[in-house]
Symmetry: C2
Subunit: 264 residues, 2 copies
DNA sequence: CGCGGGCAGTTTACGGCGTAAACGAGACGG
DNA sequence: CCGTCTCGTTTACGCCGTAAACTGCCCGCG
């Protein structure tokens, strides 16, 4: 019924950490920080952030809530750990850490791979991503969703090695992170809104919608267009536009004084 | 000490709803939904979202927590109301609702005024904006931060009246909202990170930072650049770039088949 | 004047939350 | 055999959101 082109979205992989389910059955007795963090990720994916409490997370692990405090200082730090865990997968589940080493073909290829890597994370954990987006970063210049020092270092190194000035690389980092954040946060928000609409389809279905929409002719007319989901194509197009923009910045780097913040 | 150019940022107005402070002193006895909502906004601005509880909000209003439930169904709905209240100021505190009526000079002017209006809101209420950004919208196609039906209707109407096809207007709406969301959420996040760094300047200030940064030469070298705050200029430049892109889309609307999602 | 009903805010109460502190129970080297 | 150490449990406290019962007070109507 819903026109969804997501079936051929290359970033929308079936998220099958099948080992987790098996591990939960065999229940390896040892508790440790890693296991707690990934169980929390899975719990948030399944029940949402609001449902995650220390007691319930303990129960999921077959343990009392207080047992978690030996491995995690408190709930806030647990959430930080969840964010870190999810972001760090960029380094291992990519085919060998090709993001850090320079075995990519040029900075544009690097930025595209990185963008799709982050998008894959966002789509795999839609309920965790708002946390990645809005949790206060460690330093003011660690901008979500690229929250790890390693990642930022890798980003800046790749661009400066490719001929970007320090200023241009930093400007690119800022433009790139806000692009990623905006697109992906909206994409996962829309994902969440779709399921939350199915939660309560109650009330008289016509009266409210009609009175709302009759005063809004443009909304009414474009509603089918608005309901289409072209996230993958839009992401691709906006990303390519950004890369084009950055290419321009890189090449005009010599004749500098045009007042742009990009190469100031 | 911190190099801040914010002093001449036109969107960074001194937020003086002075009437509120005066009203708190004279304490007009009547409680109503509007007063509760704006007191909550002020409370979040001052103490952060986490500190807002029904009991404390009641205390701020000189009333027991349960009294609020006569005007607000519960805490979640209160937060929705807070978001709505803040967003709706786009219509009144602009010089007469010039956003809704078509007394702007062209769609580009409209989009610039709207963007700066939203930015002004974000900067005036940095702790509320993450709520505006991440609270699930009423309908899937109501994309933060443009969360009101009136606003989306106004947006689509202005663009289609200016010659945009329905498809182009919707594509512009999507590009525009993700641009706004990314830029502004990062800007307020950075604001919050700055104050939260001042909260605990404890620990040995050199050892940790040095061990962290020594392994990250590019970070170390570009740190002064990364710490600069050029948000206003970057916002302006990215906004102009987006408007240019949209202008192109509008003008090539006739020769359509280039595969772009913009004029599909 | 009296009085009854509704409005506005309070009191009481309950279950769940994060977490501090004291408390087992089993492993293990001496 | 006995400390001691590791890992998890028990108990307890204060705060949270909120359901339900309960005031005091105003105001129209006899």
């Amino acid at each position: 019924m819903t026109t969804s082109d997501d079936d051929l979205d290359p970033d929308l992989v079936a998220v099958t950490r099948g080992t987790d389910a098996a591990a939960a059955l065999t229940r390896p007795p040892g508790l440790d920080r890693e296991r707690i963090l990934w169980t929390a990720v899975e719990f948030i994916d399944r029940h949402g952030l609001a449902a995650l409490t220390m007691r319930r997370l303990g129960a999921q692990l077959g343990v009392e809530a207080m047992a978690l405090y030996r491995y995690v200082p408190g709930r806030e730090d647990l959430l930080d750990g969840v964010v870190d865990s999810v972001v760090e997968t960029l380094f291992d589940n990519e085919d060998g850490d090709d993001l850090y080493i320079e075995d990519h073909s040029g900075w544009q290829d690097y930025l595209m791979k990185l963008a799709h890597g982050v998008r894959r994370i966002a789509l795999a954990h839609p309920s965790v991503f708002p946390l990645v987006a809005s949790r206060p970063p460690a330093a003011p210049w660690v901008r979500p969703p690229l929250r790890s020092l390693r990642l930022v270092e890798s980003f800046l190194g790749t661009l400066t090695d490719s001929g970007f000035s320090d200023q241009a690389a930093v400007a690119a980092y800022r433009a790139y992170s806000s692009f990623l954040l905006g697109h992906l946060l909206l994409e996962v928000t829309q994902l969440g809104a779709q399921v939350s609409l199915l939660d309560q389809p109650e009330g008289d279905p016509k009266a409210q919608a009609a009175t709302d929409l009759d005063r809004h002719p443009n909304l009414l007319r474009t509603e089918p267009l608005l309901s289409q989901n072209k996230s993958a194509a839009e992401f691709e197009e906006a990303l390519e536009n950004l890369l084009d923009r950055l290419t321009g910045v890189l090449h005009e780097a010599k004749n500098s004084d045009d007042g742009s913040v990009m190469d100031l």
